[in-house]
């Protein structure tokens, strides 16, 4: 089958490897652009969130490249995203697209149903080939997030503007082509040296800002207008709290084995939120507390318009900001947002953090509504 799939940051590199291992031809959609969003919005119900529209746009662009199947995640639990695949399947059908729609659901309790779905995907492949694909895909996922984290450290320290982002793109392109786990590891090792060469001498006090919120909008740079690059250019080191690798570990492996526990998150969020509220709502609250206690200078919280779990979190963050003495900027993203207002808010937030550090030490707090 020729399988296309929606983008999620740079995860396409790992997904391509996985699909090849399963014996299919991966058709990665072109990079997400304004056109993708326009295409997705045109065929989406208006009240659905930004991720839905971009994902649908990706699928349509992937199909234009000749794909005959669509791979999507779904299932119970995360948020409305769980049934997005089903709606998208119906929308594509209504548009007259003849496609095989495969929804990978997070297993509920047992692996048996999971494997049944996978069997459809892994037609007539040897165990050895499947294993290689799975290992390579996992290595690439780990590597691409490792490279991105190196870029987060390098950006505020780079000597030539834009050098870290350009270098990251080059390494990601190499990673995409890598065919063995050994090659993948080599790229990461070389990149560690490469990124170090980009960085200038260490500055006295570099602002460190944590990034959290709804997972799709945090990971997908088109959806968050490149917030990591923007903050990096403003001389801020971004600390991620969301990793796709960790998400897969927690929600696909641990949950299925009954090993995933919300207790650590609940403990951090105690006094604010007592349990799971869908999506990353609990994570956003719990991790804000964790970041404040790690002495970060501030937090940027990103959410799509109409995202219920994050709206709950956003309602809690002002009090948390006061209690934990950490400024928080909440930014809502949707298809109507303007780039200049977004940039102005980030610049003003960074100025606020810098002046706060300069003038008051760390005595004050602020929780910003942003929009």
């Amino acid at each position: 089958m020729k399988v296309t799939f929606p983008h999620l940051g740079n995860a396409y590199i790992a997904i391509e490897a996985l699909l090849r291992g399963l014996g299919h031809e991966p058709i990665a959609p072109p990079p997400t652009t304004r056109h993708t969003l326009e295409l997705g919005s045109l065929h989406s119900p208006g009240e659905l969130c930004l991720p839905f529209k971009i994902v649908l746009g990706n699928m349509l662009e992937g199909l234009e490249l000749g794909a005959d199947s669509v791979l999507m995640i779904g299932g119970w639990g995360p948020c409305r995203l769980g049934y997005y695949g089903e709606i998208q399947r119906i929308l594509l059908e209504a548009l007259g697209k003849r496609v095989e729609f495969i929804t990978l659901e997070v297993p509920r309790g047992s692996y048996a149903t999971y494997f049944q779905r996978f069997r459809k995907l892994a037609a007539a492949r040897s165990a050895k080939a499947l294993l290689h694909g799975a290992r390579l895909s996992w290595a690439k996922l780990t590597a691409l997030e490792g490279l991105e984290e190196l870029a987060l450290k390098a950006r505020p320290r780079e000597q030539i503007s834009g050098a870290a982002s350009r270098y990251l793109q080059e390494q990601l392109a190499r990673l995409r082509e890598a065919e063995t786990v050994h090659e993948v590891q080599q790229i990461v090792e070389e990149a560690e040296v490469g990124f170090r060469a980009i960085m200038g001498p260490e500055r006295a006090h570099l602002l460190r800002v944590g990034l959290l919120g709804e997972i799709y909008t945090v990971v997908e740079s088109f959806a968050n207008l490149g917030v990591e690059e923007r903050l990096g250019e403003l001389g801020v080191e971004v600390v991620r709290t969301i990793s796709l690798r960790e998400w897969v570990e927690n929600h696909i492996f641990r949950k299925a084995l009954g090993l995933y526990s919300l207790r650590p998150l609940r403990r951090l969020a105690s006094g604010y939120l007592s349990g799971f509220i869908g999506g990353h709502g609990l994570e956003s609250v719990a991790r804000s507390v964790a970041l404040a206690r790690q002495n970060l200078d501030g937090i940027v919280h990103i959410l799509p318009l109409s995202c219920m779990p994050e709206i709950v979190a956003r309602g809690i963050l002002p009090r948390l900001s006061k209690d934990e003495q950490i400024p928080i900027l909440s930014l809502v993203v949707d298809e109507h947002m303007g780039e200049s207002g977004f940039q102005t808010r980030l610049e003003a937030f960074v100025d606020l953090l810098q002046r706060r550090v300069d003038a008051l030490g760390k005595q004050r707090s602020a929780c910003l509504s942003g929009n």
């Binding site: 304004r34 834009g162 002002p318 947002m337 610049e347 002046r355 706060r356 910003l368 509504s369 929009n371």
Partner: protein, 330 residues
């Protein structure tokens, strides 16, 4: 670059906004950095032309020596690249800097411009919180302009007429379209223009506070700045809603530019360097062009804007992959 003829040393602040382009000169030798010259020009969709016009007015006077330049506003990057500004700052920091300079006790700043509005919260002279509205036209100067025109009231008289109202009507201010519908309805009921204008001011203030101030403590001293602060009806509506005096600073209409000039001064004093300013004569006479195109170097197809001065490339914006030019300034 210094001007050939020496003059009175000043810092130039420029605020290139969507509706107005403001320029100020602050005394470079006076420790209080008092304002010695200001100009409020309409941008009219052509920021570069407005900017050149402002600069030529300064050059014509022939008595100023520019020590440093700061830019702010939505056109800050463009103006900064064209002139070789010493600092390019966002509007929030610029407005806060200017307000603090005129009164160090300021704790709340309400700023309403042509196409956006802001609320800045300060404590002990430091910005601790802010909110910006850039998506809703209700609560911006453009809407007041439009309604004044519809009612046949010159915008200059708007405030005084609103103040003369003895019985303001209640107008739905959640959305400009519905506000207008409601105003027409009240007019048809025979209510007087002053009462409708006063009601409109109150509705705009309610909208502003609902959108931007929820959960924030608005302590004194409260400043009201931006073009709309000229409207005495709006000032009184804020005072009634906040139940405390609201101060409109002397140079309320150019506070962003004042802030930019102050920040340029601070920056140059910190680095004790020379200004990077291109020069007044040069800036007035140079030929600046901008060009926008869709880049095809990678599949992102970014829309790139470039600025060229006298045939030389200055800066570009809009590239996501970083292969083309630079993203912010030079």
């Amino acid at each position: 670059m210094r001007l050939a003829s020496k003059g009175r040393p000043v810092y130039l602040g420029i605020d290139v906004g969507s509706v107005s382009t403001n320029l100020v000169l602050l005394d470079g030798e006076d420790s209080r950095s008092s304002l010695v010259w200001k100009k409020y020009l309409r941008t009219q969709g052509a920021p570069l032309a407005a900017l050149k016009k402002g600069l030529s007015l300064i050059a014509e006077e022939g008595m100023w020596e520019i020590r440093g330049v700061g830019t702010t506003g939505s056109g800050r990057e463009l103006a900064g690249a064209m002139l070789g500004a010493d600092i390019v700052k966002n509007e929030i920091t610029a407005h806060a800097t200017a307000a603090l300079h005129s009164d160090p006790t300021v704790s709340t700043i309400v700023e309403i411009g042509g196409q956006d509005s802001k609320l800045i919260v300060l404590r002990d002279g430091v910005v601790v919180d802010f909110a910006m509205n850039t998506v809703c036209a209700a609560g911006t100067g453009s809407f007041l302009d439009q309604q004044a025109a519809r009612l046949g009231v010159p915008i200059e008289n708007f405030g005084d007429l609103a103040l003369s109202s003895s019985n303001p009507v209640r107008i739905a201010g959640r959305c400009t379209v519905f506000a207008e519908t409601d105003m027409i309805h009240k007019q048809q009921l025979g209510m007087g223009i002053p009462d409708i204008l006063a009601g409109l001011c109150a509705a705009m203030v309610r909208n502003f506070l609902n959108n931007l101030a929820s959960g924030k403590e608005l302590r004194p001293t409260v400043f009201f700045q931006g073009g709309v602060a000229a409207n005495a009806g709006m000032k009184r509506a804020f005072e009634l809603a906040l139940n405390q005096p609201v101060h409109v600073p002397d140079h309320y209409d150019v506070m962003g530019a004042v802030g930019a000039a102050l920040l340029a001064k601070e920056e140059l004093e910190k680095s004790s360097g020379e200004t990077r300013f291109f020069g007044l004569e040069q800036a007035v006479n140079c030929d600046v062009t901008n060009r926008t195109y869709e880049c095809r170097r990678c599949p992102n197809n970014c829309e790139i804007s470039e600025i060229w001065r006298d045939g030389a490339f200055l800066a570009s914006w809009g590239s996501r992959c970083g292969q083309v030019g630079t993203q912010h300034g030079s």
